[in-house]
């Protein structure tokens, strides 16, 4: 991937934008355990971040995938994980299937306002009894004429207390397993949609996470994204975009964490010299930098594959797996090398440590990535 002047200017624009619109508020939003999604998204949307690769007919930018990589890297530099995660939901988790498979009417009604930052979207797949095993979901949509009647519940829904609409995965037939599911756009203002709980979490404090319940929720069948019965398959495609943006954010966050740790160790004196003068610390950081470099270049190779129109499943899987792990190791090292201050809530390291723990669980746990790879590479007997 060739980084052009346009990429550089886009990167700088995002960095300035986040610096001005997000950074001054991060501490307040972290303490509040939520953030004003409607207000923030409206401020971010004009640069095009919520519709980078989407069709210009719906207000998208028609950009190639390399700009998503740049956006992800810059989002990773934001000084908390919650806000970039919330943004990523709108960009790459709740909207890709709608953009790819939705009807023109559905895109006009839900995708276009999401791109303009006029509404907040959520992805509702996980349930109390089904997370990694998506095929185990129980939320049902039963057809009544030209309406679905939806009953069930969804768990851990990011942006869930504020969302205007959900991209919801439900069973819409009695076929078992991967069959008979559909992705449905559910406006949260519909009768029967209830935020049953706002969930407290280990990290990602500025991001609100909800449990939602659905009782006889009626939405038009025309709100179905793509083909009825193909929801699982479409969601697998959507997961790919989710894993890619997660991976790209990690490339940015790790780079910044290493730079900040280096700067601290160069200043901090112990035993008559800067901490950074200890070869052990240098070598540990050098090794992490080396692994970050591999990750960064893998991200570029990944973006190139996506732009060539190749199946990027393997890239997304490996990138998300290795990025999540390296990020956790860097976070752990940053806390360790900072000593006591590293453990303090007021310091960036402890937030980074809390927030980065999620990536090995969400968007498909590390073991789920390994399961995909084991199958692809023929290690699995399944």
């Amino acid at each position: 991937m060739l980084e052009t002047d346009e990429h550089r200017l886009f990167r700088k624009t995002l960095r300035d934008l986040f610096e001005r619109e997000i950074e001054p508020h991060v501490n307040v939003w972290e303490s509040a355990r939520t953030f004003p999604a409607h207000d923030l998204f409206a401020r971010l949307a004009p640069v095009g971040i919520f519709g980078l690769e989407y069709d210009e007919a719906y207000g998208g930018m028609g950009a190639d995938h390399s700009f998503t990589l740049i956006a992800g890297e810059e989002m990773g530099r934001i000084s908390c994980g919650g806000i970039p995660m919330a943004m990523a939901v709108q960009m790459s988790m709740a909207t890709p299937a709608l953009a790819q498979y939705g009807t023109a009417e559905l895109k006009e009604a839900y995708l276009a306002p999401a791109i303009r930052g006029e509404c907040v979207a959520s992805i509702a797949v996980t349930e109390p009894d089904a997370g990694s095993d998506v095929a185990g979901i129980r939320t049902r949509g039963v057809r009544d004429g030209d309406q679905w009647i939806i009953n069930g519940s969804k768990l851990y829904v990011t942006n869930g207390t504020q969302a205007d609409w959900l991209c919801l995965l439900a069973r819409t037939s009695d076929q078992p397993g991967y069959q008979g599911m559909s992705l449905i756009v559910v406006p949260t203002s519909t009768d029967g949609v209830v935020v049953s709980r706002k969930l407290e979490k280990l990290g990602m404090w500025s991001s609100d996470t909800a449990e939602l319940s659905f009782t006889d929720v009626r939405v038009p069948v025309s709100n179905t994204i793509g083909e009825i019965g193909r929801g699982f398959q479409q969601q697998m495609v959507q997961f790919q975009a989710e894993r890619l943006i997660t991976f790209y954010k990690q490339v940015g966050s790790i780079e910044l964490a290493l730079a900040r740790t280096k700067a601290y160790l160069a200043e901090r004196q112990a035993f008559g010299k800067p901490l950074l003068a200890n070869q052990h610390l240098q070598f540990v950081l050098a090794e992490l930098s080396a692994r970050h470099d591999m990750l960064k270049h893998y991200a570029r190779t990944t973006a190139d594959a996506v732009m060539r129109g190749e199946d990027a499943t393997r890239y997304a899987t490996i990138g998300k797996l290795m990025g999540s792990r390296l990020q956790r190791e860097v976070a752990d090292t940053a806390v360790q090398f900072h000593g006591g201050i590293g453990y303090m809530d007021e310091h960036w390291t402890s937030r980074f440590f809390r927030d980065t723990r999620l990536d090995s669980i969400g968007a498909g746990a590390d073991e789920v990535m390994l399961r995909i790879l084991a199958r692809m590479d023929g290690y699995s007997t399944e």
Binding site: D5, E6, R8, L9, F10, K12, T13, D16, L17, P46, V47, G48, I49, L52, M61, A63, F67
Partner: protein, 258 residues
């Protein structure tokens, strides 16, 4: 209406360049960015010249044919740019730069010229009024608001006590202070569109100027010495013991800020 905005392209302050030990001038080779203080001028110009047929032209003098900073202004929405780049311009002082800018601005035949009060890298704060003088135009400095009324501009001019209302015929040079408008961010679409917007590249000869009047040859100014600026002292912490507000007010009064 045609508005020209003078835009300075400077080394990125995040990775500041070094001074050339021979000339004591800033090393400006490499990628430059648009000076942050020009964001306000560009935004102001775009707001004033937002109508049908209106146009904003950027004018910049920079070494090495550098356009990176200009692209930012074009991405924000300016229509075109004029770049003056010439080896003969190395070592220009403020007046030399003003001569070049004045000659380039004249080619765009503007109704209004917007400049920042001062740049953020190496600055004298004298350039705008020199340009105005050379072009024989009136100048209004420290504008915090500008409105167009027929062929005149009405400017709210920042003063220590508040602001003056100044009415001035066009064409004129106006300088804007940082923070007077909220500069827009270039959108993705703007960034891509900027790629194909015209940038006219000019040399000293193209402007009909004599090389001996500009650059180090024409410079009446020499930097004989540079020294480190004084490190900023630590601030004063007011611990609120119930009288915090009064003490902050007293502190500000003593500084004559309020």
């Amino acid at each position: 209406m045609n508005v020209v905005v003078c835009v300075k392209q400077i080394p990125d302050p995040v990775a500041p360049g070094a001074l050339d030990p021979g000339t004591n001038t800033l090393n400006r080779s490499g990628k430059l960015i648009m000076d942050d203080s020009d964001n306000y001028g560009v935004e102001m110009a775009l707001q004033l010249a937002g109508g049908e047929g209106d146009e904003v032209t950027l004018v910049s003098m920079a070494p090495g044919g550098e356009t990176s900073g200009l692209r930012t202004g074009l991405a924000m929405g300016a229509a075109k740019a004029i770049l003056i780049s010439d080896e003969a311009l190395a070592g220009s002082d403020a007046l030399g730069t003003a001569k070049v800018l004045a000659a380039a601005i004249a080619r765009a035949n503007p109704d209004l010229i917007v400049m920042a009060t001062e740049s953020t890298d190496g600055y004298t704060g004298t350039l705008p009024v020199q340009v105005a003088e050379l072009m024989g135009l009136p100048s209004v400095t420290f504008a915090k608001a500008i409105s167009i009324e027929g062929s005149t501009i009405k400017v709210e001019r920042q003063t220590e006590a508040g602001f003056d209302e100044v009415v001035c015929p066009m064409p004129a040079v106006v300088t804007v202070t940082a923070g007077v408008v909220e500069p827009r961010y270039p959108s993705f679409k703007g960034i891509m569109a900027a790629k194909s917007k015209p940038v006219e590249n000019l040399t000293v000869a193209d402007l009909g100027l004599d090389a001996s009047q500009v650059g180090s040859a024409g410079s009446g100014q020499e930097i004989t010495d540079v020294s480190e600026s004084e490190a900023r002292g630590s601030g004063e912490i007011v611990v609120d013991e119930g009288d915090g507000a009064q003490r902050v007010v007293a502190f500000l009064e003593q500084l004559k800020v309020i």
